[in-house]
């Protein structure tokens, strides 16, 4: 079968060391097998690992940064504005990826390519500019030290165009902080696994785009009919308006009521002053506008402004649930204006809000417990809810000043420096845990533990379902739901679309099968597509195993197995290590991996064909 739509069948390869830029055609076999986004990234990173005998320094010139939207990115269907960034992660040393919404991926496709691969390191801080006619690397050393937004303004001026889209890094990325993000469209971030750091290591401050090409769609009228059905379904959903109004901020109340909201570095899982930082408070006092990614009717983004008080004038896109939870209750902060201020600071510096919130919380608890001395903190005390001290510490991380230099190395560096901090920081494989407390749900703990990129909720988010229906679940069902999520959710990243219409408004998976087939002219069933996404999961597992990962890395954070939440519905709960290990063994069995979580050697053969 040959692909009739969905792709330009072209990729752009850039080597910043040599200044070489090359357009290569992409074979149908590659496009069909890896689909796009994270699938392309996984394959290219795998090939690169093989080429380098599985020895890649995440900050070395040899690490490949793959930027890939998918065949559905930018297409008329709900929430099609996603783009993936993939590389070996500085946070974990393993396979890493992160996606962002907004319009960046759409613009990348409109320049006429399906993927961008960046290798090497530029001699000085540079901007990669791509338009329909080609690409060029523009040295702009004057951008050093500029925030994401400042850089964006200066680049637009330099290019003489105000309609370019771009992804930039802030000071954190330049200084190679382990959890720096890539930002676009003012508030859209590819936050996790430190991919902004990879850009920083390549001396690449920004990727700027201007494209105007038609996106190839095989069956336009079929697509419009399918998309209109999906849009109509979403609009009728009882929660649709609530999503437009609050976006992910509605999760704060839900998490607090169900006892999965991180408070005081996960010491607790409810927050007494939750109503001061929840969605209703945002709506009544701070929200000034909606914000949507491309083609998304849910517009879950919020724009907030602090209108009075000490943070007056703070304007930020966001926050969403993770940011608000990690920079609010998790730090003991009950002032929403302070949360907004911290979120804006992270956006400007280019720091991932989840990792930043997690690490600052660990510092506060470490100091409280006496693991960290006042001297370790450069003489500046820091306690729960102390917004002044917290807002002082965050820039020190980005600028690597004082204790910030160690914190900038992320969990692994912190634990190396102060081994007892392992009992305080919640992380798996070196990636700090997202804002859903897995002590309430063993399937969620398994999801974090087996996630290829570390403790992030994007791979499988089973916590709500288990809390609602899972009290009588068998081991088989608990493991089964994790694997199903790990199969299905990559598909959204591969297509280049957001998963929220599915997970939050219940848009049926089969819609995506039809979208894919209308756009590409293919005839794959959902099951066949799931097989392909499962292959990508196997592939990233293989990569990680070859990079030295094994069963002991599919672990639970110390707190999750030892320290129960103090109050709330899940008070007293921890994840039993024996029960967890039993589920883990079953998980490996069901995946066809061995006792140590190693996929069969024969599996690698599947992925060794040349692109």
């Amino acid at each position: 079968m040959s692909l009739k739509g969905g792709y330009f069948k072209k990729g752009l390869w850039v080597d910043l060391t040599r200044g070489a830029i090359e357009t290569r055609s992409l074979a149908d076999a590659f496009l069909e097998r890896y689909i796009g986004g994270r699938g392309f990234g996984a394959k290219l990173v795998w090939d690169n690992l093989r080429e380098h005998d599985f020895k890649i320094d995440p900050l070395g010139a040899e690490n490949l940064l793959v930027v890939a939207p998918g065949p559905l990115s930018g297409v008329y269907l709900p929430s099609s504005g996603k783009n993936s960034f993939v590389a070996i992660s500085p946070a974990t040393g393993l396979y890493g990826d992160s996606s962002m919404g907004g319009g960046f991926g759409v613009e990348l496709r409109q320049t006429g390519i399906d993927l961008l691969s960046v290798a090497g390191r530029a001699a000085e801080l540079s901007v990669l500019f791509i338009d329909g006619d080609g690409a060029k690397v523009i040295p702009m050393p004057e951008l050093k030290g500029k925030s994401c937004l400042q850089a964006e303004g200066l680049i637009k001026e330099r290019l003489g165009s105000h309609i370019v889209h771009m992804a930039t890094i802030g000071v954190a990325g330049e200084n190679m902080v382990g959890f720096a993000c890539i930002s676009a469209d003012w508030g859209r971030n590819a936050g996790r696994t430190g991919l902004g750091t990879v850009m920083g290591s390549k001396n690449l401050k920004a990727i700027a785009l201007q494209g105007n090409k038609d996106l190839p769609v095989y069956d336009m009228s079929g697509l419009v009919a399918e998309a209109d059905k999906a849009y109509g379904y979403m609009k009728e959903h009882p929660f649709f308006k609530m999503w437009q109004r609050q976006g992910l901020m509605n999760v704060i109340d839900y998490a607090n009521e169900t006892g999965i909201l991180p408070a005081y570095n996960f010491k607790d899982s409810v927050f007494a002053r939750c109503e001061q930082i929840n969605g209703t408070t945002m709506l009544n006092h701070y929200k000034i506008g909606d914000s949507a990614c491309f083609a998304c009717p849910m517009c879950c983004g919020n724009i907030c402004l602090v209108k009075s008080g000490k943070y007056v004038g703070t304007v930020v896109e966001g926050p969403e649930y993770e940011t608000c939870a990690m920079l609010g209750p998790n730090l003991g902060i009950d002032d929403f204006a302070a949360v907004l201020s911290a979120a804006r600071l992270c956006d400007e510096l280019g720091l991932d809000t989840i990792s930043t919130g997690s690490i600052v919380a660990a510092v506060i608890e470490g100091y409280e417990k006496g693991i960290l001395s006042l001297a370790d903190l450069d003489g500046r005390e820091i306690t729960w809810g102390d917004d002044d001290a917290i807002l002082e510490l965050i820039p020190k991380i980005a600028h690597r000043e004082g204790v910030g230099d160690i914190l900038a190395g992320g969990s692994r560096r912190i634990i190396e420096t102060w081994p007892e901090m392992d009992r305080v920081i919640l992380q798996v494989k070196g990636l700090e845990q997202s804002a859903y407390d897995s002590r309430a749900s063993i399937s969620m703990a398994l999801a974090y533990a087996t996630s290829d990129i570390g403790a992030h909720h994007t791979r499988a988010w089973t916590i709500a379902k288990e809390m609602e229906e899972g009290s009588n679940w068998s081991d088989d069902e608990r493991v089964g739901i994790v694997i199903y999520h790990q199969k299905l959710r990559p598909l959204f990243d591969m297509f280049g679309v957001c998963r929220l219409p599915w997970i939050e408004l219940g848009l049926n998976e089969l819609h995506y099968e039809r979208f894919y087939n209308c756009v590409t002219g293919g005839s794959l069933s959902l099951d066949e597509l799931l097989e392909l996404s499962n292959d990508v999961y196997d592939l990233t597992r293989l990569a990680n195993v070859r990079l030295g990962m094994s069963r002991r890395d599919d672990s639970l954070p110390y707190k999750v197995r030892t320290n129960p939440p103090l109050t709330g519905p899940n008070a007293g709960k921890v994840i039993n290590q024996g029960e967890f290990q039993r589920l883990l063994t079953l998980y490996y069995q069901k995946r066809g991996w061995d006792e140590n979580g190693v996929p069969p050697a024969s599996l690698a053969e599947k992925f060794n064909d040349r692109v």
């Binding site: 297409v75 437009q244 209703t280 517009c299 896109e317």
Partner: protein, 177 residues
């Protein structure tokens, strides 16, 4: 009654669905850069998302500068006669709103034609930022805003299901009693 395509930028979330459906309707392609309506995202100051689309002016400057009279106001729509257009794009340059667009693939300027009276962008806008209003209703929201800002108005605050509400009212003047 003539209907007007009206923009309420405060309601716009910047999703650009309008751009997509316009291009699909007129060119049959998935390309937001071939749309007669575009959403401008301005940040960080001023913070606004502004859909820019033809106002179908009664005294169209675009038509005044058109050297071949290819643009004419007919029954509420400034219409472009393709056979007379010489693609000089003077219209795009002169529109005070910048609401006429040019794309390298297209010879003709891209301009809103109201989809024959049933604009797709209005139909598909998920937030109500684009609306089709009778001309007589134009300015209605401003009139209402004016009433609300009448200085002699008093107000009370109340919370209904956790949501803050304000009731404003004008009290009967004492001297009249």
């Amino acid at each position: 009654m003539p209907l007007k395509l009206t923009v309420i930028p405060e309601q716009c979330c910047g999703c650009r669905i309008c751009e997509l459906v316009c291009a699909i309707e007129h060119f049959g392609v998935n390309n937001p850069k071939k749309s007669a309506v575009r959403v401008l995202n301005i940040y960080p100051h001023p913070v606004i998302r502004m859909p820019v689309v033809c106002s179908q002016c009664r005294v169209p400057l675009c038509a005044q500068v058109c050297p071949t009279d290819a643009l004419r106001w007919v029954e509420g729509v400034v219409q472009l006669e393709p056979s007379e257009c010489i693609s000089c794009y003077k219209c795009a340059e002169s529109c005070p709103f910048g609401a006429i667009y040019v794309h390298e693939d297209c010879e003709l300027p891209i301009k809103c034609d109201m989809c024959g009276g049933d604009p797709q962008c209005v139909k598909k806008c998920p937030t109500g930022a684009l609306r089709l209003l009778p001309e007589a209703a134009l300015g209605e929201s401003k009139r209402l805003d004016n009433i609300l800002s009448y200085t002699a108005m008093k107000e009370i605050e109340l919370y209904e299901e956790g949501e803050k509400k304000v009731i404003r009212y004008a009290e009967v003047g004492k001297e009249e009693l």
